[in-house]
Subunit: 198 residues, 2 copies
Amino acid sequence: MTEHRLLPLVDAPAPERRDAARNREALLEAAQALIDHCGLDAVTMDAVAAAAGVGKGTVFRRFDSRAGLMGALLNHNETAWQASVMSGPPPLGPGAEPWERLLAFGRSRLETTLQHADLIRHAGQAGTRSFAAYSFAAMHVRYLLGQLGVTGDLPLLATALMAPLEAPILEQQVRIEGIDVERVFHGWADLAGRIVRR
Amino acid sequence: MTEHRLLPLVDAPAPERRDAARNREALLEAAQALIDHCGLDAVTMDAVAAAAGVGKGTVFRRFDSRAGLMGALLNHNETAWQASVMSGPPPLGPGAEPWERLLAFGRSRLETTLQHADLIRHAGQAGTRSFAAYSFAAMHVRYLLGQLGVTGDLPLLATALMAPLEAPILEQQVRIEGIDVERVFHGWADLAGRIVRR
Protein backbone atom coordinates (compact mmCIF):
# COMPACT_ATOMS: atom_id res chain seq x y z
CA MET A 1 0.00 0.00 0.00
CA THR A 2 2.85 2.35 0.87
CA GLU A 3 4.65 1.25 -2.27
CA HIS A 4 1.53 1.97 -4.27
CA ARG A 5 1.46 5.53 -2.96
CA LEU A 6 5.14 6.03 -3.74
CA LEU A 7 4.99 4.65 -7.27
CA PRO A 8 1.59 5.44 -8.75
CA LEU A 9 1.06 3.70 -12.09
CA VAL A 10 0.32 6.19 -14.84
CA ASP A 11 -2.68 4.29 -16.17
CA ALA A 12 -4.15 3.22 -12.84
CA PRO A 13 -7.34 5.13 -12.07
CA ALA A 14 -7.40 7.07 -8.77
CA PRO A 15 -8.94 5.04 -5.90
CA GLU A 16 -12.24 7.01 -6.08
CA ARG A 17 -12.42 6.34 -9.84
CA ARG A 18 -11.87 2.63 -9.25
CA ASP A 19 -14.60 2.62 -6.61
CA ALA A 20 -16.95 4.37 -9.01
CA ALA A 21 -16.23 1.82 -11.73
CA ARG A 22 -16.82 -1.08 -9.33
CA ASN A 23 -20.00 0.60 -8.13
CA ARG A 24 -21.23 1.02 -11.67
CA GLU A 25 -20.38 -2.59 -12.49
CA ALA A 26 -22.28 -3.79 -9.40
CA LEU A 27 -25.35 -1.77 -10.40
CA LEU A 28 -25.31 -3.14 -13.95
CA GLU A 29 -24.93 -6.69 -12.65
CA ALA A 30 -27.85 -6.17 -10.28
CA ALA A 31 -29.98 -4.82 -13.14
CA GLN A 32 -29.04 -7.76 -15.40
CA ALA A 33 -29.87 -10.26 -12.64
CA LEU A 34 -33.28 -8.58 -12.18
CA ILE A 35 -33.97 -8.87 -15.93
CA ASP A 36 -32.85 -12.51 -16.03
CA HIS A 37 -34.96 -13.57 -13.07
CA CYS A 38 -37.96 -11.25 -13.12
CA GLY A 39 -38.14 -9.65 -16.56
CA LEU A 40 -37.53 -6.12 -17.75
CA ASP A 41 -40.54 -4.60 -15.97
CA ALA A 42 -38.92 -5.50 -12.64
CA VAL A 43 -36.03 -3.13 -13.38
CA THR A 44 -37.00 0.04 -11.55
CA MET A 45 -34.41 2.45 -10.13
CA ASP A 46 -35.68 1.42 -6.65
CA ALA A 47 -35.31 -2.29 -7.30
CA VAL A 48 -31.80 -1.91 -8.72
CA ALA A 49 -30.75 0.22 -5.74
CA ALA A 50 -32.17 -2.34 -3.29
CA ALA A 51 -30.56 -5.28 -5.12
CA ALA A 52 -27.16 -3.57 -5.18
CA GLY A 53 -27.47 -2.34 -1.57
CA VAL A 54 -27.11 1.37 -2.37
CA GLY A 55 -29.42 4.35 -2.15
CA LYS A 56 -31.78 5.22 -4.99
CA GLY A 57 -29.97 8.55 -5.41
CA THR A 58 -26.77 6.70 -6.33
CA VAL A 59 -28.55 4.89 -9.17
CA PHE A 60 -29.99 8.17 -10.48
CA ARG A 61 -26.62 9.98 -10.21
CA ARG A 62 -24.95 7.17 -12.14
CA PHE A 63 -27.52 6.62 -14.91
CA ASP A 64 -29.77 9.67 -14.90
CA SER A 65 -32.95 7.75 -15.74
CA ARG A 66 -34.34 4.27 -16.27
CA ALA A 67 -33.71 4.68 -20.02
CA GLY A 68 -30.13 5.71 -19.22
CA LEU A 69 -29.67 2.55 -17.15
CA MET A 70 -31.08 0.43 -20.00
CA GLY A 71 -28.70 2.10 -22.44
CA ALA A 72 -25.71 1.48 -20.15
CA LEU A 73 -26.70 -2.16 -19.74
CA LEU A 74 -27.01 -2.59 -23.48
CA ASN A 75 -23.57 -1.03 -24.00
CA HIS A 76 -22.16 -3.36 -21.38
CA ASN A 77 -23.53 -6.42 -23.23
CA GLU A 78 -22.43 -5.03 -26.59
CA THR A 79 -18.87 -4.49 -25.33
CA ALA A 80 -18.67 -8.11 -24.18
CA TRP A 81 -19.94 -9.27 -27.59
CA GLN A 82 -17.42 -7.07 -29.42
CA ALA A 83 -14.60 -8.55 -27.32
CA SER A 84 -15.63 -12.05 -28.34
CA VAL A 85 -15.63 -11.02 -32.03
CA MET A 86 -12.19 -9.37 -31.75
CA SER A 87 -10.37 -11.81 -29.51
CA GLY A 88 -12.70 -14.63 -28.46
CA PRO A 89 -12.49 -18.25 -29.60
CA PRO A 90 -13.24 -19.15 -33.27
CA PRO A 91 -15.45 -19.31 -35.25
CA LEU A 92 -16.89 -16.00 -33.90
CA GLY A 93 -13.41 -14.80 -33.02
CA PRO A 94 -10.32 -14.88 -35.25
CA GLY A 95 -8.85 -18.15 -36.52
CA ALA A 96 -11.70 -19.64 -38.57
CA GLU A 97 -12.37 -19.33 -42.32
CA PRO A 98 -14.21 -16.07 -43.24
CA TRP A 99 -17.38 -17.94 -44.31
CA GLU A 100 -17.48 -19.80 -40.98
CA ARG A 101 -16.91 -16.52 -39.16
CA LEU A 102 -19.74 -14.87 -41.11
CA LEU A 103 -22.15 -17.68 -40.18
CA ALA A 104 -21.01 -17.47 -36.54
CA PHE A 105 -21.55 -13.69 -36.64
CA GLY A 106 -25.11 -14.18 -37.95
CA ARG A 107 -26.05 -16.77 -35.37
CA SER A 108 -24.55 -14.88 -32.47
CA ARG A 109 -26.14 -11.57 -33.56
CA LEU A 110 -29.52 -13.26 -33.99
CA GLU A 111 -29.34 -14.85 -30.55
CA THR A 112 -28.09 -11.82 -28.63
CA THR A 113 -30.54 -9.47 -30.36
CA LEU A 114 -33.50 -11.70 -29.46
CA GLN A 115 -32.15 -12.08 -25.93
CA HIS A 116 -31.84 -8.30 -25.48
CA ALA A 117 -34.82 -7.27 -27.63
CA ASP A 118 -36.77 -5.79 -24.68
CA LEU A 119 -33.69 -3.86 -23.60
CA ILE A 120 -33.04 -2.57 -27.13
CA ARG A 121 -36.67 -1.43 -27.40
CA HIS A 122 -36.45 0.47 -24.11
CA ALA A 123 -33.02 1.98 -24.65
CA GLY A 124 -33.43 3.48 -28.13
CA GLN A 125 -36.43 5.18 -29.62
CA ALA A 126 -35.98 3.62 -33.04
CA GLY A 127 -35.97 0.08 -31.67
CA THR A 128 -32.50 -0.50 -33.04
CA ARG A 129 -29.05 -0.57 -31.47
CA SER A 130 -26.90 2.53 -31.17
CA PHE A 131 -24.97 3.88 -34.14
CA ALA A 132 -21.67 2.98 -32.43
CA ALA A 133 -22.83 -0.62 -31.91
CA TYR A 134 -24.03 -0.78 -35.50
CA SER A 135 -20.76 0.65 -36.83
CA PHE A 136 -18.60 -1.97 -35.15
CA ALA A 137 -20.71 -4.85 -36.48
CA ALA A 138 -20.88 -3.27 -39.96
CA MET A 139 -17.09 -2.91 -40.05
CA HIS A 140 -16.69 -6.57 -39.12
CA VAL A 141 -19.14 -7.75 -41.81
CA ARG A 142 -17.45 -5.55 -44.44
CA TYR A 143 -14.09 -7.04 -43.48
CA LEU A 144 -15.43 -10.60 -43.84
CA LEU A 145 -17.12 -9.82 -47.18
CA GLY A 146 -13.79 -8.42 -48.41
CA GLN A 147 -12.00 -11.58 -47.23
CA LEU A 148 -14.58 -13.63 -49.14
CA GLY A 149 -13.74 -11.75 -52.34
CA VAL A 150 -17.16 -10.09 -52.61
CA THR A 151 -17.13 -7.13 -54.97
CA GLY A 152 -19.68 -4.30 -55.12
CA ASP A 153 -20.82 -1.66 -52.64
CA LEU A 154 -19.62 -3.50 -49.51
CA PRO A 155 -20.97 -0.99 -46.95
CA LEU A 156 -24.48 -1.35 -48.42
CA LEU A 157 -24.20 -5.14 -48.74
CA ALA A 158 -23.09 -5.27 -45.10
CA THR A 159 -26.15 -3.22 -44.10
CA ALA A 160 -28.38 -5.55 -46.12
CA LEU A 161 -26.93 -8.54 -44.24
CA MET A 162 -27.40 -6.88 -40.87
CA ALA A 163 -30.89 -5.41 -41.45
CA PRO A 164 -32.83 -8.68 -41.03
CA LEU A 165 -31.04 -9.17 -37.69
CA GLU A 166 -32.40 -5.92 -36.21
CA ALA A 167 -34.67 -6.34 -33.18
CA PRO A 168 -38.03 -5.16 -34.65
CA ILE A 169 -37.71 -7.54 -37.61
CA LEU A 170 -36.55 -10.55 -35.59
CA GLU A 171 -39.23 -9.96 -32.97
CA GLN A 172 -41.92 -9.80 -35.63
CA GLN A 173 -40.76 -13.06 -37.20
CA VAL A 174 -40.23 -14.99 -33.99
CA ARG A 175 -42.75 -13.48 -31.54
CA ILE A 176 -45.59 -12.41 -33.87
CA GLU A 177 -45.38 -14.76 -36.84
CA GLY A 178 -44.11 -17.64 -34.69
CA ILE A 179 -41.28 -18.58 -37.05
CA ASP A 180 -38.76 -21.00 -35.53
CA VAL A 181 -35.40 -19.36 -34.65
CA GLU A 182 -33.52 -22.14 -36.46
CA ARG A 183 -35.51 -21.41 -39.64
CA VAL A 184 -34.71 -17.70 -39.31
CA PHE A 185 -31.01 -18.56 -39.03
CA HIS A 186 -31.12 -20.82 -42.09
CA GLY A 187 -32.91 -18.09 -44.05
CA TRP A 188 -30.18 -15.65 -43.03
CA ALA A 189 -27.43 -18.11 -44.02
CA ASP A 190 -29.14 -18.55 -47.41
CA LEU A 191 -29.22 -14.74 -47.80
CA ALA A 192 -25.51 -14.56 -46.92
CA GLY A 193 -24.74 -17.28 -49.49
CA ARG A 194 -26.61 -15.34 -52.19
CA ILE A 195 -24.84 -12.07 -51.31
CA VAL A 196 -21.46 -13.81 -51.33
CA ARG A 197 -22.58 -15.65 -54.51
CA ARG A 198 -21.53 -19.02 -53.13
CA MET B 1 -83.11 12.99 -52.97
CA THR B 2 -86.60 11.49 -52.71
CA GLU B 3 -85.49 8.70 -55.01
CA HIS B 4 -82.51 8.08 -52.83
CA ARG B 5 -84.77 7.65 -49.81
CA LEU B 6 -87.08 5.29 -51.67
CA LEU B 7 -84.33 3.14 -53.12
CA PRO B 8 -81.45 3.09 -50.71
CA LEU B 9 -78.37 1.42 -52.20
CA VAL B 10 -77.25 -1.51 -50.10
CA ASP B 11 -73.61 -0.46 -50.01
CA ALA B 12 -74.17 3.27 -49.68
CA PRO B 13 -73.30 4.47 -46.19
CA ALA B 14 -76.01 6.33 -44.28
CA PRO B 15 -75.77 10.14 -44.74
CA GLU B 16 -74.25 10.63 -41.28
CA ARG B 17 -71.65 7.95 -42.05
CA ARG B 18 -70.78 9.69 -45.31
CA ASP B 19 -70.43 13.01 -43.47
CA ALA B 20 -68.16 11.36 -40.92
CA ALA B 21 -65.98 9.87 -43.66
CA ARG B 22 -65.72 13.24 -45.43
CA ASN B 23 -64.94 14.89 -42.12
CA ARG B 24 -62.22 12.38 -41.39
CA GLU B 25 -60.77 12.81 -44.88
CA ALA B 26 -60.73 16.60 -44.46
CA LEU B 27 -58.89 16.29 -41.13
CA LEU B 28 -56.28 13.94 -42.61
CA GLU B 29 -55.78 16.26 -45.57
CA ALA B 30 -55.35 19.23 -43.23
CA ALA B 31 -52.79 17.27 -41.19
CA GLN B 32 -50.87 16.21 -44.31
CA ALA B 33 -50.82 19.82 -45.60
CA LEU B 34 -49.43 20.95 -42.22
CA ILE B 35 -46.66 18.33 -42.42
CA ASP B 36 -45.83 19.24 -46.03
CA HIS B 37 -45.63 22.97 -45.36
CA CYS B 38 -44.52 23.26 -41.75
CA GLY B 39 -43.06 19.91 -40.70
CA LEU B 40 -44.32 17.25 -38.31
CA ASP B 41 -43.90 19.37 -35.17
CA ALA B 42 -46.57 21.74 -36.50
CA VAL B 43 -49.14 18.96 -36.32
CA THR B 44 -50.89 19.57 -33.02
CA MET B 45 -54.54 18.67 -32.43
CA ASP B 46 -55.24 22.44 -32.19
CA ALA B 47 -53.52 23.24 -35.49
CA VAL B 48 -55.31 20.43 -37.35
CA ALA B 49 -58.68 21.55 -35.95
CA ALA B 50 -58.00 25.17 -36.96
CA ALA B 51 -56.81 24.19 -40.44
CA ALA B 52 -59.87 22.00 -41.04
CA GLY B 53 -62.25 24.57 -39.51
CA VAL B 54 -63.63 22.28 -36.80
CA GLY B 55 -63.43 22.24 -33.02
CA LYS B 56 -60.52 20.60 -31.23
CA GLY B 57 -62.98 18.16 -29.61
CA THR B 58 -63.88 16.79 -33.06
CA VAL B 59 -60.23 15.96 -33.76
CA PHE B 60 -59.88 14.20 -30.41
CA ARG B 61 -63.15 12.25 -30.87
CA ARG B 62 -62.00 11.12 -34.30
CA PHE B 63 -58.37 10.18 -33.53
CA ASP B 64 -58.13 9.90 -29.76
CA SER B 65 -54.60 11.34 -29.56
CA ARG B 66 -51.81 12.91 -31.62
CA ALA B 67 -50.27 9.43 -32.01
CA GLY B 68 -53.67 8.16 -33.18
CA LEU B 69 -53.82 10.91 -35.79
CA MET B 70 -50.30 10.06 -36.97
CA GLY B 71 -51.27 6.39 -37.24
CA ALA B 72 -54.40 7.24 -39.24
CA LEU B 73 -52.40 9.46 -41.57
CA LEU B 74 -49.83 6.73 -42.12
CA ASN B 75 -52.59 4.22 -42.90
CA HIS B 76 -54.10 6.68 -45.33
CA ASN B 77 -50.78 7.02 -47.20
CA GLU B 78 -50.19 3.27 -47.08
CA THR B 79 -53.62 2.55 -48.55
CA ALA B 80 -52.91 4.90 -51.47
CA TRP B 81 -49.56 3.16 -52.04
CA GLN B 82 -51.18 -0.30 -51.92
CA ALA B 83 -53.74 0.82 -54.51
CA SER B 84 -50.94 1.88 -56.86
CA VAL B 85 -49.26 -1.52 -56.44
CA MET B 86 -52.49 -3.43 -57.07
CA SER B 87 -54.04 -1.39 -59.85
CA GLY B 88 -51.83 1.62 -60.65
CA PRO B 89 -49.78 2.10 -63.82
CA PRO B 90 -46.76 -0.17 -64.50
CA PRO B 91 -44.02 -0.78 -63.58
CA LEU B 92 -45.18 -0.44 -59.92
CA GLY B 93 -48.64 -1.69 -60.88
CA PRO B 94 -49.45 -4.76 -63.00
CA GLY B 95 -48.38 -5.05 -66.62
CA ALA B 96 -44.57 -4.88 -66.40
CA GLU B 97 -42.07 -7.76 -66.17
CA PRO B 98 -41.62 -9.10 -62.58
CA TRP B 99 -38.00 -7.85 -62.38
CA GLU B 100 -39.08 -4.33 -63.44
CA ARG B 101 -41.92 -4.46 -60.91
CA LEU B 102 -39.50 -5.54 -58.17
CA LEU B 103 -37.17 -2.61 -58.94
CA ALA B 104 -40.15 -0.23 -59.02
CA PHE B 105 -41.31 -1.65 -55.67
CA GLY B 106 -37.88 -1.02 -54.15
CA ARG B 107 -37.62 2.53 -55.42
CA SER B 108 -41.14 3.48 -54.42
CA ARG B 109 -40.80 1.89 -50.97
CA LEU B 110 -37.48 3.66 -50.42
CA GLU B 111 -38.93 7.03 -51.42
CA THR B 112 -42.19 6.80 -49.48
CA THR B 113 -40.47 5.45 -46.37
CA LEU B 114 -37.98 8.35 -46.36
CA GLN B 115 -40.82 10.79 -47.06
CA HIS B 116 -42.89 9.47 -44.15
CA ALA B 117 -40.00 8.57 -41.81
CA ASP B 118 -40.99 11.15 -39.18
CA LEU B 119 -44.56 9.95 -39.29
CA ILE B 120 -43.52 6.30 -39.00
CA ARG B 121 -41.31 7.15 -36.01
CA HIS B 122 -44.17 8.94 -34.24
CA ALA B 123 -46.89 6.43 -35.08
CA GLY B 124 -45.20 3.18 -34.03
CA GLN B 125 -42.98 2.51 -31.07
CA ALA B 126 -40.61 0.21 -32.95
CA GLY B 127 -39.94 2.78 -35.68
CA THR B 128 -41.33 0.44 -38.30
CA ARG B 129 -44.62 0.28 -40.18
CA SER B 130 -47.62 -1.66 -38.86
CA PHE B 131 -47.78 -5.44 -39.22
CA ALA B 132 -50.70 -5.07 -41.68
CA ALA B 133 -48.69 -2.67 -43.85
CA TYR B 134 -45.69 -5.01 -43.69
CA SER B 135 -47.81 -8.06 -44.57
CA PHE B 136 -49.18 -6.53 -47.75
CA ALA B 137 -45.72 -5.54 -49.00
CA ALA B 138 -44.26 -8.94 -48.02
CA MET B 139 -47.01 -10.74 -49.93
CA HIS B 140 -46.28 -8.65 -53.01
CA VAL B 141 -42.52 -9.31 -52.85
CA ARG B 142 -43.08 -13.05 -52.33
CA TYR B 143 -45.37 -13.07 -55.37
CA LEU B 144 -42.73 -11.32 -57.52
CA LEU B 145 -39.95 -13.64 -56.28
CA GLY B 146 -42.14 -16.60 -57.23
CA GLN B 147 -42.75 -15.10 -60.68
CA LEU B 148 -38.98 -14.71 -61.05
CA GLY B 149 -38.50 -18.42 -60.38
CA VAL B 150 -36.64 -17.88 -57.09
CA THR B 151 -36.54 -21.03 -54.97
CA GLY B 152 -35.87 -21.24 -51.24
CA ASP B 153 -37.62 -19.86 -48.18
CA LEU B 154 -39.50 -17.08 -50.00
CA PRO B 155 -41.10 -15.47 -46.91
CA LEU B 156 -37.65 -15.04 -45.33
CA LEU B 157 -36.06 -13.85 -48.58
CA ALA B 158 -38.90 -11.32 -48.93
CA THR B 159 -38.20 -10.08 -45.39
CA ALA B 160 -34.49 -9.80 -46.21
CA LEU B 161 -35.35 -7.66 -49.24
CA MET B 162 -37.66 -5.41 -47.25
CA ALA B 163 -35.51 -5.04 -44.12
CA PRO B 164 -33.01 -2.52 -45.59
CA LEU B 165 -36.00 -0.38 -46.65
CA GLU B 166 -37.27 0.06 -43.08
CA ALA B 167 -37.27 3.62 -41.76
CA PRO B 168 -34.58 3.36 -39.03
CA ILE B 169 -32.09 1.82 -41.46
CA LEU B 170 -32.79 4.21 -44.33
CA GLU B 171 -32.69 7.20 -42.01
CA GLN B 172 -29.35 6.12 -40.63
CA GLN B 173 -27.86 5.71 -44.10
CA VAL B 174 -29.28 8.88 -45.61
CA ARG B 175 -29.58 11.30 -42.67
CA ILE B 176 -26.71 10.17 -40.41
CA GLU B 177 -24.13 8.64 -42.76
CA GLY B 178 -25.06 11.05 -45.59
CA ILE B 179 -25.25 8.34 -48.25
CA ASP B 180 -26.88 9.50 -51.48
CA VAL B 181 -30.42 8.12 -52.02
CA GLU B 182 -29.51 7.00 -55.53
CA ARG B 183 -26.59 4.98 -54.16
CA VAL B 184 -28.90 3.38 -51.58
CA PHE B 185 -31.28 2.41 -54.38
CA HIS B 186 -28.49 0.91 -56.50
CA GLY B 187 -27.26 -1.04 -53.47
CA TRP B 188 -30.77 -2.38 -52.98
CA ALA B 189 -31.08 -3.32 -56.66
CA ASP B 190 -27.74 -5.16 -56.40
CA LEU B 191 -29.06 -7.02 -53.33
CA ALA B 192 -32.24 -7.94 -55.23
CA GLY B 193 -30.13 -9.20 -58.16
CA ARG B 194 -28.08 -11.41 -55.82
CA ILE B 195 -31.19 -12.79 -54.10
CA VAL B 196 -32.82 -13.52 -57.47
CA ARG B 197 -29.43 -14.86 -58.66
CA ARG B 198 -29.55 -12.78 -61.85
